[in-house]
Amino acid sequence: MSELAAAEHGHDHYDPEANKLGFWLFLFTELLLFGTMFIAFAMYQDMYKIEFIEGTHHQNIILGTVNTIVLLTSSLTMALAIQALRRGLKTLSIAYMAFTIVCSAGFCVIKFIEWSAKYHKGIFLLNENMDTLPKGEQVYYGLYFTMTGFHAFHVLVGALLIIWVMVAVAKGKVHAKRLSFIDNVGLFWHLVDLVWIFLFPLFYLIR
């Protein structure tokens, strides 16, 4: 303890449990961030039941379902990537992660298709056509674009993080004995999945 020569980075030791705990606490903030928007959704759903159902009828349920499956699959491959690395299978792990990124790209593309379809129908933020809709529907679309937008943003950030981890694994900085980074990115990715599990039925299925 009294070794002063060890400069300040000397404090920095690897503690996977602390890392996990800290990252979970961070995930709580993400949960509550989305949770707050869900509160807004729930209250307005209660106030404008009919308008919200009307809004749901304009959603493309097939694209929504496909997107759900894509995201669930990416979650699986991410979990498998971590499991592979834990067993020391570096190449397999990288391959799984590459597949995860492909899935996330697919998710974003489908999302883009959905949004642009709405855009062409004149349903978009700042579009004058929106003012002609009934009050509750305007709120529905406001929430739809905000919440799915936030979620898509998280997908993008998650994909970038996975790319980062891939590089770290390839360079050997993250390996079977030092898993915190990939573990935590995995947790983040599953959280993104978790949020979608609730977004999907609320925006597409309550008919």
Partner: protein, 95 residues
């Protein structure tokens, strides 16, 4: 400080099984949404979503094999969130 416990490694088949469950539940919830059930629609949709998220939490996010403290922390977090929802709703219910 870094007591790296030999952690439980779930086999690949286990993960795939969970994934199949999730896909199946997605199918169920989509199918059910075409049935007109009035007030139950919201409830079933949320119920299925809760099961799905529990699966993700327990297996993909390893909660089942982690230290219990994380589990309790999540309970605390979700508990406070539930309270936020209920108390906010108390306003909208009576307004």
């Amino acid at each position: 400080m870094s007591e790296d416990k030999s952690e439980h490694i779930m086999p690949v088949i286990g993960y795939v099984g969970i994934w199949l469950c999730l896909i199946f539940l997605t199918g169920v919830t989509v199918a059910v949404s075409f049935v007109d059930m009035q007030n139950l629609t919201l409830f079933t949709a949320l119920f299925v979503a809760t099961i799905k998220s529990t699966l993700v939490l327990l297996y993909f996010m390893h909660l089942r094999h982690d230290q219990p403290i994380i589990f309790y922390m999540i309970l605390a977090c979700l508990g406070s969130y539930a309270v936020f929802v209920i108390l906010t709703y108390s306003d909208y219910l009576y307004r």
